[in-house]
Amino acid sequence: MKTKSNLERVLNAGYFAVTAEVGPPQSADPEVIRKKAKLLSGYVDGFNVTDGQTAVVRMASWAACLIGKEFGLDPIVQMTCRDRNRIALQMDILGIAALGINNVLCLTGDHPKFGNHPHAKGVYDIDSVQLIKIVKDMRDEKKFQNGEPIPYEPRLFIGAAENPFADPFEFRVLRLKKKIEAGADFIQTQIIYNVPKFKEWMKRVCDLGLHEKVKIIAGVSPLKSVGAAKYMKTKIPGMDVPDEIITRLQGVPKDQVPKEGIRICVDIINELKEVKGVAGVHIMAIEWEETVPEIVEAANLYPRPKF
């Protein structure tokens, strides 16, 4: 064990892990996070809080993570390179470790252009791969990025994201390899709707033996409406929503669509469980977190292991 992370323990013990994503509020209201955390309690091995997702100003990931921690959950702080340079990022790494957080997910971050402050200056001093390496060196080499020693190192379980549906497809596995070599312990993937294409990617991952070097947690998300599915298909960069999914949603009466969306999500999880190299699922029920317990139970992933 590299850290005190619950997620690391669950994965190392060979359980099929479950994590979920929590969207922080666009306000200072802690109750929003408390409500969502209460819902998830007992159903997940760890929970992510997004860090200014789509470049919209929201409560900081680490702060919302601390609130969720009150409910016995293991937080995964998301950290993007969009808003902070290497100085600020390393300060935050020390800070979250000192506050008892055990997991960090390293991301490059959505461009300011997509958000509610499109005139902001994006920082991008470093990229996600470099951030992974910095956290790894801080933890294992006890060194800052400039090479200076750290007397008391941050012990964090290091996560990264990868998108099997982005281009160039053939390079995606090699980029995963790069992230592993940089120091990633676990990977959370982009939301999967196109399971055959994901399987093709996983096959390449396994061919290179990468599934033995990193824990791959597959991203899933329940669709609430046909409109949401179409929006994801056309508007979100790097998403792949096959027409079959949309047809399946269109095939049920309108008031049944959310239920069908949840069923599709459970079906995908069940398929993913059988894919070689998949170590767990990450449920991204964005602003629909209340469905997570239902999904976890329906996919026979409840109760979660306790240590």
Binding site: C81, R82, R86, T108, G109, D110, H111, K113, F114, G122, Y124, D125, I126, D127, S128, V129, Q130, K133, I134, Q145, A161, E162, N163, F165, A166, D167, P168, F171, L174, R175, K177, K178, E181, A182, Q190, P237, G238
Partner: protein
């Protein structure tokens, strides 16, 4: 070549609020090329300002405003008209505005915004660009620049939003990392892209470092 574009008239009017008389300066170099401060634009601006009730005491369009010695002689010829004015408005890039500000002891308003050339220093149209970052990375990228052409200046790209060869931030521009991949694949050097590229020394670039000392 610097690219400039006239500021909106309302913004210029705000600058000269409370002033009655102005003197206009243009340039026959880049500003004429970009139609932001050549002879024609200066005359048009004169008309617009007069319609708004301002008095234009005079105007001059200098051959190369960034040539300080030449501009000093030119402006001297207009000394009387400049003295009469409350302020000057300069219609060209930031370099030209600063030349006039050094030569005249009077308020000098910028009439244009200087637009980023995106590193396109050559006057010929083309995709080749250089941001003068001081720490060249073209060795790792098959000779295509991710500093000038990736929206996130990523050194270990492409990011997760690259799809169909387009940049996630603007689908009208190609994802340079996709192009880098294709180029390296073509020349059999994908190993360059599989390599970890360490954090960059940004201190040598104008983006992060102190102003470059050239003189």
């Amino acid at each position: 070549m610097l690219i400039s574009k006239q500021k909106p008239l309302e913004e210029i009017m705000e600058y000269i609020e409370g002033e009655k008389k102005v003197f206009l300066v243009g340039c026959k170099g880049c500003a004429e090329g970009w139609e932001s401060g050549g002879e024609r634009e200066i005359l048009e601006m004169k008309k617009k300002l007069e319609e708004k009730g301002k008095i234009v005491t005079g105007h001059v369009v200098v051959d190369m405003l960034c040539d300080k010695a030449l501009s000093a002689i030119k402006l001297k010829n207009f000394k009387k008209k400049i003295d009469e004015a409350d302020s000057l408005i300069v219609f060209t890039d930031g370099a030209g505005v600063q030349v006039v500000a050094e030569l005249v002891k009077k308020m000098v308003h910028p009439g244009c915004n200087t637009i980023s050339s995106g590193g396109a220093h050559a006057e010929w149209k083309g995709a080749e660009r250089c941001m003068e970052c001081g720490n060249c990375v073209l060795e790792y990228t098959g000779g295509l620049c991710p500093i000038a052409r990736c929206s996130k200046h990523i050194l270990n790209g492409p990011c997760g939003g690259s799809q169909y060869g387009k940049c996630e931030v603007d689908e009208t521009i190609p994802c340079v990392w996709h192009l880098i991949y294709e180029r390296l694949k073509e020349i059999g050097r994908l190993d360059k892209m599989e390599m970890f590229v360490a954090p960059k020394d940004w201190s040598l670039s104008l983006i992060a470092g102190p102003p470059v000392k050239r003189f």
